[in-house]
């Protein structure tokens, strides 16, 4: 094997990084969607001012 013929120098930093990678903690910050009641008004306004669905042109 290649690695057997290659001198491998492992520093304390390498060992620390390895230990950190092996622990795999959970994500620090949650990205959960939050309830936003004030958004209801904006959604309703959007529905009211949105243009109507286009109709099929007649006479063609």
């Amino acid at each position: 094997m290649l690695a057997q013929h290659t001198p491998l120098l492992v520093t304390p930093t390498d060992a620390t990084a390895l230990g950190t990678a092996m622990v795999e903690p959970e994500a620090v910050l949650s990205d959960a969607p939050t309830y936003a009641p004030e958004a209801t008004g904006a959604l309703l306004l959007g529905l009211l001012i949105s243009p109507k669905e286009p109709k099929e042109p007649k006479g063609k």
Partner: protein, 211 residues
């Protein structure tokens, strides 16, 4: 497969470190699929332990000692135990000793489930021990932890917890939620190669992928 990974790597040290990080999951193709274990693969794992040696003594379990070295010690034990099993050298002493203690108190299921996620490489059918007994004793805490992680959108943690649920499902333990749609949901979300590996192992355990 493992030997080839080291052989072809531009940086053999990084390749050996990757074997140590993936740990027992590196043996999943031999346990859950039909990959053939070659002596060179065993040599690659042994060399990864030689280059990055595990702790000489087993650390105290939390709360007596810090959790991180204890988690690493369990993961090292899992890798060493499977290597001994696949090479037929069980009983000759493994490359890493088995740590003391297991996460048995699941009252604080949020923290407990994260701890179990960190021990997810042990969730393989060829391994058994006090950590597995702790998982069998608390399927509800695991289900809560997986659900919480999905809601936090921490998909890697969720997939690691689902590994335990999939193992319990394979053992016939009754679960408070169906792990199949959860695994499919997490797999479709993606999140990198580690999540893909965890999801693939969970799918194998659930019988969603044939060997």
């Amino acid at each position: 497969m493992l030997a080839e990974h080291v052989e072809r790597a531009d940086d053999p040290k990084a390749a050996l470190a990757a074997i140590r990080v993936v740990g027992a999951d590196a043996f999943a193709p031999y346990l859950l699929a039909e990959a053939v274990f070659h002596p060179d693969d065993a040599a690659a794992v042994s060399q990864s332990f030689a280059v990055f040696p595990p702790a000489v003594s087993t650390p105290d379990p939390p709360p007596s000692g810090p959790a991180e070295p204890w988690i690493v010690a369990w993961r090292d034990w899992a890798t060493a135990a499977l290597l001994a099993r696949l090479t037929g050298t069980q009983g000759d002493g493994t490359l890493a000793p088995r740590p003391e203690g297991a996460p048995t108190d699941h009252t604080d299921w949020q923290r407990w489930s994260v701890r179990m996620s960190q021990l997810s490489p042990l969730a393989l059918p060829a391994l058994d021990g006090p950590v597995h007994a702790a998982a069998r004793a608390a399927p509800l805490a695991l289900a809560r932890g997986a659900t919480r992680a999905v809601l936090r959108r921490d998909f890697p943690t969720a997939t690691r917890i689902v590994r335990w649920l999939a193992l319990l499902h394979a053992e016939g333990v009754r679960l408070p939620l169906d792990p199949v749609p959860l695994v499919e949901h997490l797999r479709l979300h993606g999140g990198g190669p580690r999540l893909a590996l965890d999801a693939a192992i969970a799918r194998r355990l659930l019988g969603l992928e044939a060997p």
